[in-house]
Symmetry: C2
Subunit: 225 residues, 2 copies
DNA sequence: TTTATTTTGTGAGATATGTCACATCTTTCT
DNA sequence: AGAAAGATGTGACATATCTCACAAAATAAA
């Protein structure tokens, strides 16, 4: 019988050598579930008993702020979801929602912790992941708060193009009001700014299909706008 | 000869049992340095070779943003400084500056990593610390960006009073323009808002000496303002 | 002590963005 | 298919905050 975890991105991604018994442990304590666009993968405020790995798809991480829902970041597979919740707090401190069809692997937290304790390379890897995302969070926040609308919107478009879809042409997986919740702006302002970008020949849009036609300018705006 | 690390807060704080040999390893690879108010403890962009622990005092963590220096948070001893840099990146991704006289312990990164590998409880503790601060970063950012000036300023005052100094009376360790860099506001706006708080009988001030006289109202403003 | 430098206090005007209002257009559900 | 819900476009106006400008205090340096 073949061990499913053997070739799984969750495991491969860490570049860590796993013993057979460790792989078996994983294999015996995980479940894979499919989510549709808009489905909640992790719900803020709910007790968490699993480590969660996004195997396929894209998801938004969002948190309930004092006035409205705040999108913290968008992530794409393969990646862990809710890693900090696993160690920092039993209760989920944020929500994760699928923005495309996604495959998600739920790993029992006990098995995961056992693995961490046994395999030092693996725990070093997790340590590094956590560290990186904390540093990223600091940087992201500083950027968001210091730039104004056009700059932030440019960042979002570049994020889609360079990291998430790795293409100059893509379909926006978020509504304009979601983008607003991401960059701290009203839905109307996003709409107007997008219209400006189109007017200025920086992007083309039909529906949610976006094509970046002047990336240089977009990067300029990201820096100075 | 007494082992200095034996009673050190760095070690005690983790509530983790250390073996004698581990304590000796630590003892042989650390240096304690005093910093004065305003001194740079960690400088962004510089190569990092130490894990750093704040033993006494208070420090601000700040990062160079696109337009200006952004204060991420204030921390007080005992706490680690630059933990995410240690694992996530060799280059410091942010600066840390003492805001009061501080004692800082520099631990060799190699020794620290060895300790992590040997002592699972310790590495679990560090994992938890990292997780907590990431979650905190998300929350902080959502709060900052969604509240307006008065709400954010109220938060800052409450942070001083409830977490940093644990008293309703304290001396501001930051200038008004620093506070501005913390909550994303201009120095003048901070000044005006403080004047309002005084006018409204919420706080009293003489120089940088602050006394909170109406904490209830301050919390109200923090929530709704 | 005297001289710089940094902080604080305050006014007036400019502006980016929020808010409300309403008309499409799309997608989803029954 | 038809109805209901949600997403987008666009105008007019309000407003919180920034920016510039300049003076007084306080702190640090010489």
């Amino acid at each position: 019988m073949k061990n499913e975890c053997n070739d799984c991105v969750c495991v491969l991604r860490s570049f860590v050598q796993m013993k057979d018994c460790q792989l078996e442990l994983l294999d015996g304590s995980h479940t894979v579930v499919q989510f549709k666009r808009g489905d909640t993968i992790i719900r803020q405020g709910v007790f968490s008993t699993n480590v969660i790995f996004l195997r396929k798809g894209m998801a938004k991480i969002h948190i309930t702020g004092p006035a409205r829902e705040q999108i913290v970041k968008l992530v794409k597979a393969p990646t862990y979801l809710g890693l900090p919740t696993t160690f920092g707090d039993k209760i989920n401190q944020y929500s994760v929602t699928a923005v495309t069809e996604s495959d998600v692997c739920f790993v029992d937290i006990g098995a995961f912790k056992k693995l961490l304790a046994e395999n030092n390379d693996f725990s070093a890897y997790i340590l590094m992941e956590l560290s990186k995302s904390e540093l990223e969070a600091y940087r992201r926040c500083a950027n968001r708060t210091q730039k104004q609308l056009r700059g932030n919107l440019a960042d979002v478009l570049l994020e889609f193009s360079e990291h998430l879809f790795e293409s100059d042409q893509f379909t926006l997986p978020l509504s304009q009001s979601d983008i607003g919740n991401w960059v701290d702006a009203g839905r109307e302002s996003i709409n107007r700014a997008l219209a400006e970008f189109i007017q200025d020949g920086i992007i083309q849009m039909q529906g949610r299909e976006v094509k970046i036609t002047d990336k240089k300018m977009l990067k300029m705006i990201s820096q100075n706008g």
